[in-house]
C-alpha cells in the first residue's frame, strides 16, 4: 500500500507541482494517475521512489515513511518503468533485465537464467536476450523495460507513461499484456498516463489530477465516466464518455440472432445468388467477410469477393464492443464470436440499445468486466 499524506512539492522557482495532496493506493491493484501535462502526476509518482523529495508531507510504503530508508536501497525494492524504456544501450537485453538482481549480488549465471524466463513471461523469445536494445522495436523495448522492473520481484511497480511512445496497435497489445501479468502477479501498480482511455482501461482506481497538482477525483473508472465530480473531470474524460462508459457494462442478456452463412472455398452451386447479405466463414467457422446481396460466385468463393466484416464482438466482453461491432459492420449486424473466434450469431445496434434501456434501473454495473480473447 502506498500512502501520500498531504504531500506538496514546490520547486525553487516557486512553481507548485503538487498541492497538499492525500491519496491511498491499495495493495495489489493498478491505480492510475491521469491528468493534463503539468498536473504533477509524474512528480507524484517519482516521490514514491524518492526521485523527487516532497517539500512537505510524507509518503508511506506499507505504513513506513520512505524518508527513513536509503534511496538506492528503497529503489531496488520498487519496479520502475519509464516512457522511453531507458534500457542500457551497452548491455544485452538479458543483462538489462538482470540489472537489479545483479545489484543485489545474485550470481550472473542465475540472474541471466531468470532474465530469460522473464522475457518469455512478458511475451518475448529467449533468443532476444542476447540482442542489444538498439536492435529492438519500440514495443519490444517497453516489454524489456517491464521485465527489468519485475526482475527482483518487487511488490510495487511504478510506471511513468510506459506505453505513450509506441503506436496505438502495439500500445493496445502492451495494455492487454499488463492486465494479464497483473492477474498473475498482483502487484501494487501506480501508473501515470495522460490518456483517459488508457486510464479507464487499466485502472481499478483512477485519480484525476488538475493543473497545479490538485486531486480532482479519485474513483473507479465506471464511476468516473458515469458521475464526474465536476466540470473539469467531465471535460477531461471527454465528450463520448457515455459511449466509453459501455466498456464497463457487461453484455449478458444479449442474444445473437441467426444469419445466412457460407464458407470460403464453397462453389457457385453452394452459394446461390441471394437478396440479402451473407456472412462468409473460414474452415474454422471464423467470420471472414460479408458477401454483398445479389453477388454471383463463379468457381469458388474467395476472400477478395468479400466486404470486410467490421469489428467482432466476443461473448462476455463489454457492451461497447458489441455496439461497435454492429456499427462497424457494413450490414448493421455485428458478428459475435466465442473466445476461440468461432461464429455464434449476429447482433444489431438496436438490440444493444434496448438492453441498455432495460438496464437503466439499477444503474450501470460497476467494476471491470472480465473478458477473454484468443
Amino acid at each position: 500500500m502506498i500512502e501520500f499524506r498531504t504531500v506538496r512539492k514546490q520547486y525553487d522557482d516557486g512553481t507548485v507541482a503538487v498541492q497538499e495532496l492525500s491519496l491511498t493506493v491499495p495493495a495489489g491493484t493498478i491505480t492510475v494517475l491521469v491528468g493534463p501535462s503539468g498536473c504533477g502526476k509524474t512528480t507524484l509518482l517519482r516521490m514514491v521512489n524518492r526521485m523527487v523529495e516532497p517539500s512537505s508531507g510524507a509518503v508511506l510504503l506499507d505504513g513506513k515513511e520512505i524518508r527513513d530508508s536509503d534511496p538506492a536501497e528503497l529503489r531496488r525494492g520498487i519496479g520502475y518503468v519509464i516512457q522511453q524504456a531507458g534500457l542500457f544501450p551497452h548491455r544485452t537485453v538479458r543483462d538489462n533485465v538482470a540489472t537489479v538482481p545483479l545489484l543485489f549480488g545474485t550470481s550472473r549465471r542465475k540472474a541471466r537464467r531468470d532474465a530469460e524466463e522473464l522475457l518469455e513471461r512478458v511475451g518475448l523469445s529467449r533468443e532476444l536476450g542476447k540482442r542489444y536494445p538498439g536492435q529492438l522495436s519500440g514495443g519490444q523495448q517497453q516489454r524489456v523495460g517491464v521485465a527489468r522492473a519485475l526482475a527482483a520481484d518487487p511488490p510495487v511497480l511504478l510506471m511513468d507513461e510506459p506505453f505513450s511512445a509506441v503506436d496505438p496497435v502495439v500500445r493496445a497489445g502492451l495494455q492487454q499484456e499488463l492486465l494479464r501479468l497483473q492477474e498473475e502477479l498482483g502487484k501494487t501498480v501506480l501508473f501515470v498516463t495522460h490518456d483517459v482511455d488508457e486510464a479507464v482501461q487499466l485502472g481499478e482506481r483512477v485519480a484525476v489530477l488538475r493543473q497545479g497538482g490538485e486531486l480532482a477525483q479519485y474513483a473507479a473508472p465506471a464511476e468516473l465516466l458515469a458521475r464526474p465530480a465536476d466540470d473539469f473531470v467531465a471535460s477531461f474524460v471527454g465528450k463520448d464518455r457515455g459511449y466509453r462508459g459501455l466498456s464497463f457494462v457487461d453484455s449478458s442478456g444479449l442474444e445473437p440472432g441467426p444469419v445466412d452463412t457460407v464458407h470460403i472455398g464453397d462453389t457457385s452451386a453452394d452459394v446461390p445468388s441471394r437478396a440479402g447479405w451473407v456472412l462468409a466463414l473460414d474452415a474454422q467457422d471464423r467470420p471472414r467477410g460479408w458477401l454483398p446481396p445479389g453477388s454471383t460466385v463463379r468457381g469458388r468463393l474467395t476472400e477478395d469477393q468479400l466486404v470486410a466484416v467490421g469489428s467482432l464482438h466476443t461473448l462476455g466482453c463489454p457492451l461497447r464492443e458489441a455496439l461497435d461491432a454492429a456499427l462497424s459492420s457494413p450490414t448493421g449486424r455485428g458478428a459475435v464470436v466465442d473466445a476461440d473466434g468461432v461464429f455464434q450469431g449476429v447482433i444489431t445496434a438496436g438490440q444493444v440499445l434496448e438492453l441498455i434501456e432495460n438496464r437503466r434501473h439499477p444503474a450501470l454495473t460497476e467494476g471491470a468486466v472480465q473478458c477473454s480473447r484468443d
Binding site: 538506492a72 529503489r75 516512457q83 531507458g86 548491455r91 537489479v100 542489444y132 538498439g134 536492435q135
Partner: protein, 245 residues
Amino acid sequence: MAAADPLGTRREGGEPVLITEILAWLLDPGNWSGPDGILRQTLLHLFYCVLAVTSAVLLAVPAGLYIGHTGRGAVFVVGFGNALRALPTLGLVTLLTLVFRGRVALVALTVLAIPAVLSGTYAGIRAVPAHVVDAAKGMGMTSRQRLWKVELPNALPLLMGGVRNAMLQVMATVMVAAYVGLGGLGQILLTGQRINDYERMAGAAILIALLAVLVDLVLAGVTRLVTPRGVFLTARSGTTSRRRR
C-alpha cells in the same frame, strides 16, 4: 613547370627533388641506424606523443567524468577549452620551452592535449540519454554505480574521439621538441634544413605524416575494441535517438 615535373618539388635553385630521390633517402639503411637515425628518432617522436597524451588522459578523463557526472564546473570546461584552443599552439609551446628548459618542455604538449580529452570525456557523459541515466537511478544504482556501469561505457566513443583529436594535435606539434634539442623526427627535418638537404627534409616530413595517420588508425582500432558492442550498434543504426523527449 608543373607539367615538366609532375612528381617532384623544386629546390631553391629550381632543380627538382624527385620522389625517387626521396625514396632512395628513405630506403637507405644507413639513414635508419645510429643515434641520429630514423629508427631512434621515430621511436622518440612516438614516445613524446604517447607520453603527452597519456598524461593528458590521466589528468583530463577523471576531471571530465566528474564534471559530466555532477554537472558542476561545465562552464569551466567550455571556457577553458576555448581559451586553450584560441592560444597559438606554437607560441604556447615556445613560451613554455623558454620557461622550462629541457624535458620539462614536454609539459607544453600535455597542456595542448588536455582540452580535447577533457571536452571529449565531458561531452561523452552528457550525451548519455537522460532517460537511461534516470532509469539507472530509479533502479537503485548509487551515484558511483551509475557513473561506472552506465555513463562511462556509453561515453567511450566520444571520449576516445577526444583522445584521437588530442593525439593528432600533439603529433602536429611534437616537432618543436627538436627546437629544444630533444630530438624526434623534427630533428631530422631541422638538420636537413640547416644543411640544405631537401631529400632529408621531404623524407622526414613524409615520415611525420605517415606516423600521424598510422597512430590515428591504431587509435581508431582501440576505439572499436573498447566500445561496447551495443553502443556501437546503437550509434550505427541510430534507433535510440538521443534525448528524444
